[in-house]
């Protein structure tokens, strides 16, 4: 019992340390020029955990804050960052938008805007369905043998007559509906 608990605690501790360590090393190694992460993200600032702990940028509604900023800092953005440290009400609308776009690629309304892709999907779906139906007609015309005689009307009528003669299902089924005296269906 105690051993179990001790093992669990140690595991938990190690896990915490490892998790912290991996995040730290990711952000630390990202600060080393020439690291692989740096190669991928350039000079972009790592600002958060993102949705997976990887330094990637994706606009998502369930994880609103990507791990890195969208734009690499340039002179304009750095100047804006300096200005951002002051009173925000002194920023113009354009500056505010520029600051936003430096951090984020798309606004919520942009990445949630309907793409119209459903039309494409529906269209392709119908094309495939109609191709299937044409395949059936092709097979019917050139591949399948004609239907057997039993599908002809007179054959099916003869079959029905024989079933009545044999009194098939006389209680609730087909023969119970046939009037054998008057030779017609019961009203």
């Amino acid at each position: 019992m105690a051993n179990n608990l001790l093992a669990l605690t140690c595991k938990q501790l190690l896990k915490n340390v490892a998790a912290k360590h991996s995040v730290q090393t990711a952000s630390m190694s990202a600060n080393v020029a020439g690291s692989f992460t740096r190669k991928l993200i350039g000079k972009r600032e790592i600002v958060g955990q993102g949705f997976s702990g990887e330094p990637t940028y994706i606009d998502r509604a369930d994880f609103p804050f990507p791990a890195i900023r969208w734009k690499e800092p340039n002179a304009d953005i750095l100047a804006l960052r300096e200005k951002e440290k002051g009173d925000w009400s002194k920023l113009s609308l354009e500056e505010k938008k520029a600051i936003y776009r430096a951090s984020f690629r798309q606004t919520f309304s942009e990445f949630q805007a309907p793409t119209g892709e459903w039309k494409y999907i529906l269209g392709v779906g119908f094309i495939i369905l109609s191709a299937g139906i044409w395949c059936f007609f092709f097979l019917k015309a050139f591949v399948y043998a004609p239907l057997p005689d039993t599908f002809k009307k007179e054959n099916r009528e003869a079959q029905l007559a024989r079933m009545l003669d044999l009194r098939v299902n006389p209680i609730e089924g087909i023969s119970s509906k046939w009037d054998y005296e008057k030779k017609e269906w019961k009203k």
């Binding site: 019992m1 105690a2 608990l5 001790l6 600002v47 958060g48 955990q49 994706i58 509604a61 369930d62 994880f63 609103p64 804050f65 960052r81 951002e84 440290k85 009173d87 925000w88 009400s89 002194k90 920023l91 609308l93 505010k96 938008k97 600051i99 936003y100 430096a102 951090s103 984020f104 690629r105 798309q106 606004t107 919520f108 309304s109 942009e110 949630q112 805007a113 793409t115």
Partner: protein, 151 residues
């Protein structure tokens, strides 16, 4: 199962009969259910306190909001006020606008909540000089950007 019960009963007895004896952490069972006993007020307070930390950084604001967003609720205005003030302390304007956008998204199919939240936040927004996404024109798509899957 039965063993659990016995250990718990034993603990109860021990605690009641000899209240002075402290529980041995290594051998006693953890007496907690999986359900949270936190009240809504405590929950709000916890997050408000989190965002009110003086030395909070951008990473923690993002972590806190993402964490909060994992719950099935629209956060109280007082939590958002604390979060926006935290954004001001770390000088991240974009983050504050993003939080407001995310709040609107979090309201889901209830369009009546967001205007109320903005109304509650209005003094803070004016004080900090934060523009709502509507004032920035972000309630409608502004730019067309190619899908990242096509880049």
């Amino acid at each position: 199962m039965f063993r659990n019960t016995v250990v718990r009963a034993q603990n109860l007895l021990k605690n009641n009969l000899q209240p002075t004896i402290s529980r041995n952490i290594a051998t006693s069972q953890k007496l907690a259910s999986s359900h949270s006993t936190e009240t809504d007020e405590q929950f709000d307070q916890r997050y408000e306190n989190f965002f009110n930390q003086k030395d909070i950084d951008g990473w923690d604001i993002r972590r806190g909001v993402t964490d909060l967003w994992g719950h099935d609720l629209v956060p109280e205005p007082k939590i958002l006020i604390a979060a926006l003030k935290a954004c001001r302390r770390v000088n991240d304007f974009a983050l504050s606008v993003r939080i407001l956008e995310a709040v609107k998204d979090k309201c889901g199919g209830r369009p009546d909540i967001y205007p109320w939240i903005i109304q509650e936040l209005r003094p803070t927004l004016t004080e900090l000089g934060i523009s709502t996404p509507e004032e920035l024109g972000y309630n409608q798509p502004e730019l067309h950007t190619e899908s990242v899957f096509n880049l």
